[in-house]
């Protein structure tokens, strides 16, 4: 297969995944008693496109399934069939199955033919009428001997996109014809030549001529012409085939399928146009800068202006490029309604889900990687957060619980809040469990919030019974780890009896960092600005020594461990003025550390270059960047430095 065809298939698969998503959200939102016709049309169009494409691109295995699916929707649309909760369930199951099959196609694997036949059969049972896929085969075939045709098109036939000569040619391609023009119909020079008056006599001789084939060229112009006299002897044969569906009832769609992550994305053309514009402006600025006078000297007069313009344009270009990677968080949210629906149904709970801010934009990678943690938190909220209706009534609450999910931008970050009005975290139980498992010591002085957040500690689960729903071996620690790997944070606010709020804070992009440059000896490092709390002049009398080494700094009423970056990175400290040393107070996971440096330089946005790929993974650094003077500067990984100091006790 040529490369192009493979690319086309990929486009089709991506389109189909989108289509399935449209179908799923359509089915979840539809009002079962009074389905809106336009909603059904939207779902119909999606499955219709998948069906059409599947046949065209050679994914023939799913054509039958999609066909039955489409038929049912058509019947519902024409009110021949009434939508029920059960039908909706089967629809969702079929969508899961289709997704799994498409994923196999994408991975070049054989699709599971059993699932296909099971789901097709399930769908088949919904519809009252027989599948019409075999309609075409059921048509009676007529064979004739010797046909004669008189063909007289309407005079305006040329205005309708039809041309008689092509129809005759088409007929000629299927049968051996002899043709005569009726001479009386030939127009004179005075006639309007665009109005056809011609009349042809066509004779086809032979045995066993397929009448359908003969009729076909005229099929589309029946109304615009007169076709007369069919002389034939009729013979008939019937070639109807029944398609049998395998009877193999089993719950097939439950099979876990791999998640398909697309590596291509769609970008609004307006955004690309903006970039093209900017590049155009850059070219102008460049030519401004390289202007020379008659002696070949660069004209310095306008250089300041040009540099200022260049600076602005570069920033706009940077923002523009980042915005190309931005997608609405929508795609990460799209799985939530389904999860809530399925999970709550499993647990017999009634839950109202509100989602807001789904158009908030974020980097594509962040959006893709946040989906799993989100799903986990949502499952947890439904399973452990929201109480059963009875418990809720006893507690004087509405019988149905509410889960709110909202996304918004705040201070250059994407925030996602997931709140529920359930029972909240049982602080006491968490505390006891944490003591038991040795996560904390009795001597640790922890606030309620700190105790609650212990649920993010590795191996921590307070659920009395490991339920089918969230007890999947993945705990909240993994959620937290995933979020941290995206350079994000998660906080938990909870009030017993009233509910919980998980607040996730994520960077808008992973490629650019707001950096604070700092000098340590002769080296320049980049600190992520987000983790810096303050910087202070080191005062000798606030330093506590442990075994002769300055280890703790007393800042106001707090004692903060000191990490001497000179020692940590084995940099020689040959500055003469020991008083001029600075401490940068950074925070990670609510714990502070003081990093000793020589001095702070300027702040700037830096582009993160991966160290693992270009060199090797190095503790203490999250990456590198190239500074204005061309030198490489390492970016401090505050998380790993803090962990060295505080240990891994999150």
């Amino acid at each position: 297969m040529s490369l192009d065809m493979a690319a086309l298939k990929q486009t089709f698969l991506e389109e189909s995944f989108e289509g399935l998503q449209i179908m799923e959200s359509g089915i979840l939102e539809i009002n079962i008693e009074t389905p809106d016709k336009e909603e059904i049309n939207t779902i119909f169009r999606a499955i219709h496109s998948i069906k059409g494409g599947a046949g065209t691109f050679g994914f023939s295995e799913i054509v039958g399934l999609t066909h039955v699916f489409e038929n049912i929707l058509d019947e519902i649309r024409n009110q021949k069939l009434i939508l029920t909760v059960e039908i909706n369930d089967t629809f969702l199951q079929s969508i899961d199955a289709l997704e799994g099959i498409l994923v196999s196609y994408q991975n070049d694997e054989e699709p599971d033919s059993q699932i296909i036949s099971v789901v097709t059969n399930e769908l088949q049972m919904i519809t009252s009428s027989e599948s019409s896929i075999d309609d075409q085969e059921g048509i009676q075939k007529q064979s004739v001997d010797n046909v004669s045709i008189i063909f007289k098109p309407d005079q305006d036939i040329l205005n309708t996109g039809n041309e008689p000569i092509r129809i005759i040619r088409d007929l000629h391609s299927v049968a051996d014809i002899s043709i005569d023009i009726d001479e009386e119909s030939i127009p004179t020079i005075e006639d309007d030549l665009l109005k056809i008056q011609l009349k042809w006599n066509i004779a086809i001789s032979g045995k066993d001529i397929d009448l359908e084939e003969i009729k076909e060229p005229f099929e589309w112009i029946e109304d615009e012409c007169e076709i007369l006299t069919f002389d034939f002897v009729e013979k008939t044969s019937n070639s109807s085939t029944d398609i049998e569906y395998e009877n193999n009832k089993k719950n097939a769609s439950k099979k876990e399928s791999k998640v398909a992550i697309s590596t291509t994305m769609r970008v609004d053309t307006a955004r690309i146009d903006e970039l093209v514009n900017l590049v155009g402006e850059l070219v102008i600025t460049q030519s401004m800068l390289s202007q020379k006078d008659d002696n070949g000297q660069i004209i310095t007069k306008d250089i300041e202006d040009a540099l200022a313009t260049l600076d602005r344009q570069m920033r706009e270009l940077q923002d523009g490029i980042i915005s190309v990677r931005m997608v609405p968080i929508n795609s990460a949210f799209s799985r939530i309604p389904r999860i809530v629906r399925d999970t709550s149904k499993n647990l017999n709970k009634e839950i109202i889900l509100n989602i807001s801010g789904e158009n908030t934009e974020v980097d594509k990678t962040v959006s893709e990687k946040i989906t799993d943690p989100l799903v986990h938190i949502i499952r947890n909220a439904v399973d452990h957060g929201i109480e059963s209706s009875q418990e809720r009534i006893d507690a004087g609450k509405q019988p149905n619980g509410t889960i709110n999910v909202s996304a918004y931008h705040q201070g250059g970050n994407l925030m996602i809040d997931i709140s529920d009005d359930g029972g909240g975290v049982n602080t006491e139980k968490v505390y006891e469990k944490a003591l038991q498992t040795g996560v904390i010591q009795k001597s640790d002085n922890l606030s309620t919030k700190e105790i609650n957040e212990l649920i993010f500690a590795p191996g921590f689960s307070t659920a009395d019974v490991v339920s089918d729903v969230s007890g999947r071996g993945v705990g909240m620690d993994v959620v937290k780890k995933n979020i941290i790997s995206l350079k994000g944070e998660i906080e938990l606010f909870s009030e017993e009896g009233k509910g919980s709020l998980f607040r996730i804070k994520l960077p808008l992009t992973l490629a650019i960092l707001e950096g604070q440059l700092a000098r340590v000896g002769d080296q320049v490092f980049v600190f992520p600005i987000l983790s810096i709390l303050e910087s202070i002049q080191l005062k000798e009398d606030h330093v506590k020594y442990v075994q002769g080494i300055p280890s703790i700094y007393k800042l106001r009423d707090e004692f903060i461990p000191i990490i001497n970056l000179f020692e940590r990175f084995k940099i020689e400290d040959n500055s003469t003025n020991k008083n001029k040393r600075l401490l940068v107070i950074v925070e990670h996971n609510k714990k502070k550390i003081a990093l000793r440096i020589s001095e702070l330089l300027n702040q700037q946005q830096v582009v993160i270059k991966n160290l693992d790929k270009n060199y090797k993974k190095t503790d203490g650094f999250s990456g590198a960047t190239i500074l204005g003077d061309g030198k490489v500067s390492l970016i401090l990984d505050i998380a790993s430095i803090a962990q060295e100091e505080h240990g891994n006790d999150l």
């Binding site: 298939k9 065209t56 996109g161 039809n162």
Partner: protein
């Protein structure tokens, strides 16, 4: 020679584009639904129009009717599946001149188009 291809599915549009790639003198203009395609009609003169039926905003039947209303006289072929045989009659009534049955193979597409225009 110019062809207008109207389909909401990018993969189908690309497939048609790909199938007709060998015809050097053929220019293909795309429309993502009927309403979008109507705008293309103002910008170009087409020798042939291929249009899907099931599309959001304006479907292929409405689009065909509108084309004929605007005095477009080039052949219009609708793209449908076998199961939509009722669309054939509707398409015909709207002023279409033929149909291409989905799924189609590139060769079949070329063959059908050849009935209406001369591909070189």
């Amino acid at each position: 020679m110019k062809i207008l291809v109207v389909d909401d599915s990018k993969s189908i549009r690309s497939l048609i584009d790909f199938s007709l790639d060998e015809f050097q003198e053929l220019q293909i203009v795309e429309g993502i639904h009927g309403a979008d395609a109507l705008n293309r009609l103002d910008e170009h003169d087409f020798d042939l129009i291929l249009s899907d039926v099931n599309m959001p905003i304006m479907n292929g039947i409405e689009f065909t009717t509108e084309c004929r209303k605007r005095g477009i006289t080039c052949p219009i072929l609708i793209l449908t599946t076998e199961s939509e045989s009722s669309m054939k009659a509707k398409g015909k009534a709207a002023g279409a001149n033929g149909w291409i049955v989905k799924p189609f193979q590139p060769e079949a597409l070329i063959k059908t188009i050849r009935k209406f225009i001369d591909l070189v």
